[in-house]
């Protein structure tokens, strides 16, 4: 990895240069919520944001996504991928995208996802955890790949890690804006990371998590939470790794239709329903438990299906806490 320094006074110029690579999206504060929005100048960016409501997956798997357009009885591929620069993506969300990559770029490749991934630049940004974050427990608090540039906060600028060829190209083109790192910068970087590591309030015990959960299939904890959970599916919508989608055809006019896919949620009763009326997950208990099993599945090549971003906790109207549920299930087993 190449490490360089971007002094604060050069930041604006660096930011402006990013526009050459695509439309720049960065976290913006709207009311009490942060979200990735198109930005024109650095002053619009919320540098100290914790988490956006919708994760960056919305750029690659859109909430409502047109796949094909029906014209004269034939499906036509919908084109129109614009190059985007996602600025300020946190480490957990970078890991979240890598989990999506494992699914969507696996054979057969999802053409829409692939095209959008190839046309995007990911610029990471360091962060401070709040009361919901537990990424450290899952090892997703630091990204070693999956980004083009990663900006770490320093008192007088940014320590930049260059993570890809595209990242190198951006740094190359803006060579005059970057400096070599000094001993002091490295000390500051270490201090920041240490402070960050010590700021986590939430911790998930992931030791033997998959087996522990599997053993606790009939745990009374699931039954307790079945009654608390509202089954709204918010946690699915905001999760950076949830990716279930539903497909439907919509008519635009008498001659044209589009095939659209949209986010689906395993909390919906229709998720496991097949034609004929048989439901493979008929109760909320089944559906609640299913989400925890899906998130806690450990893929040897991609890790857990959860990155500890804390969105499901923050946006749960019933105040259900992911870590607390898993801890209670574990306690119930002992």
């Amino acid at each position: 990895m190449r490490y360089v320094k971007l002094p604060q006074e050069n930041f604006e110029e660096f930011f402006n240069s990013l526009k050459n690579w695509g439309k720049v999206y960065a976290p913006v504060k709207k009311g009490n919520i942060y979200s990735f929005q198109h930005v024109e100048k650095p002053s619009e960016i919320a540098f100290d944001y914790t988490r956006t409501m919708l994760p960056p997956k919305k750029f690659f798997v859109r909430p409502k996504d047109e796949m094909l357009r029906l014209k004269g009885g034939k499906w036509e591929e919908i084109d129109g991928v614009e190059p985007v620069v996602l600025f300020g993506v946190h480490s957990c969300d970078i890991h979240g995208l890598e989990i999506l990559d494992k699914v969507y770029l696996n054979e057969p490749v999802d053409p829409y996802y692939k095209k959008r991934r190839e046309n995007s630049i990911i610029i990471g940004m360091s962060c401070m955890p709040d009361e919901y974050c537990f990424c450290k427990s899952l090892g997703t608090d630091f990204a070693m790949h999956g980004f083009d540039l990663f900006l770490h906060e320093l008192p007088d600028g940014w320590l930049v890690r260059v993570g890809s060829v595209k990242g190198h190209e951006i740094a190359w083109e803006n060579e005059e804006l970057f400096e070599e790192l000094t001993e002091e910068d490295m000390r500051n970087f270490r201090e920041f990371e240490e402070k960050r590591a010590n700021s986590f309030k939430k911790h998930l015990n992931k030791e033997g998590l998959e087996d522990m959960l599997d053993l606790a299939f009939n745990s009374p904890v699931w039954k307790k939470y079945e009654k608390i959970c509202l089954g709204c599916g918010n946690c699915n919508m905001v999760c950076p790794t949830c990716r279930c989608y539903e497909v439907c055809d919509l008519w635009m006019n008498a001659y044209e239709a589009v095939r659209v896919r949209r986010y689906d949620s395993c909390f919906m009763e229709t998720h496991g329903l097949v034609a004929g009326g048989h439901n493979f997950r008929p109760t909320r208990l089944d559906r609640f438990r299913h989400r925890y099993y899906c998130k806690s599945y450990f893929d040897p090549s991609a890790g857990f299906n959860c990155v500890g971003c804390g969105r499901c906790d923050e946006f749960c109207p019933a105040k259900i806490e992911h870590v607390k549920v898993l801890d209670e299930v574990r306690e119930g087993l002992q």
Binding site: D249, C266, H271
Partner: protein, 288 residues
């Protein structure tokens, strides 16, 4: 492209029962028609343009080239539309998807096909494949339906019931609701036709467990009971294959609707299945 479907023309529509129709199709593109290869147990996604897509298993055999067949039960919005289609109409097809039955591995063995209701559709592919290739020692077909009128591919099944012995194919039928036709069949072919459920057909049957594979397809409730019968006869779980149904939307392991299992073992029915062994069911909760 992954989700682009290919034009296929309906060559023939045949009414099987009051709810099921058999569609014979062929790709419009002759090259695609030649290159379309599939295995018994695989499925395709049918695309009714402007209305949506649905998965359906192939019920024809790959040994008969130039066309493929789908048995469609009218059960929802999409299949209702499909039933309105006539000869010459075009639908979109993508696939084949799924793993299919390991036909080559089972060569030389006895096959016990256990079908319940619509489960006959994918097993018909196996049945005809086995009969066409002649590479299997013996074929049993245990088929349970609601009534005589619900027997799918009735002509074929009854033909095999009467004359199958010559082809080493032993057919047994069970029905739940009596009608004059079943009584006629039962009189002629007792004890191979009986009133009851599919597990009743196992009565008095023994298999050479070293050389037998069981292939099951039917409604969700059926698996547990059929597997019990097979295990009682000491058939190894690795020799029990079943093909499962889930809400397969994309068919390629992306949309997540067919995910089964728990934290230790998650499987996509569309991609890792739909054919699983009983070993898989023992290690993956929620499979059956």
């Amino acid at each position: 492209m992954t989700f682009q479907t290919h034009d296929a023309r309906i060559l023939e529509v045949k009414e099987l029962t009051s709810r099921e129709k058999l569609f014979t199709l062929r790709f419009v593109d002759p090259e695609l028609n030649r290159s379309f290869k599939y295995k018994p147990g695989q499925f395709v996604i049918v695309d009714i343009r402007g209305f949506g897509e649905f998965p359906i298993s192939l019920c024809s055999t790959p040994t008969r080239e130039g066309y493929f067949q789908l048995c469609v039960r009218r059960v929802g919005r999409m299949t209702k539309y499909m039933h309105k289609l006539k000869e010459g109409d075009i639908v979109g097809i993508r696939g084949p998807y799924g793993n299919g039955f390991p036909m080559e591995k089972m060569e030389g063995s006895t096959l016990v096909l256990v079908a319940g209701g619509l489960g006959m559709a994918p097993l018909r592919s196996v049945l005809w494949y086995a009969l066409d290739t002649g590479k299997y020692e013996k074929i049993y077909l245990f088929y349970g339906t609601k009534a005589y009128e619900d027997i799918l591919f009735r002509d074929e099944v009854i033909h095999l019931l009467k004359h199958g012995e010559d082809m080493n194919c032993h057919v047994k039928l069970a029905y739940e609701v009596e009608s004059p036709s079943c009584i006629y069949l039962e009189k002629g072919y007792s004890p191979r036709v009986c009133k009851g459920v599919v597990t009743d057909l196992f009565r008095g049957e023994t298999f050479d467990v070293e050389n037998t594979y069981a292939l099951i397809c039917g409604p969700p409730v059926m698996y547990k009971y059929v597997i019990k019968e097979l295990l009682d006869r000491k058939l190894s779980p690795g020799r029990i294959y079943m093909t499962l149904e889930r809400r397969m939307r994309c068919g390629v392991g992306k949309c997540g609707h067919c995910i089964v299992g728990t934290s230790t073992s998650i499987k996509y029915v569309c991609k890792d299945g739909p054919v699983f062994t009983y070993w898989d069911a023992l290690s993956t909760r929620g499979l059956i």
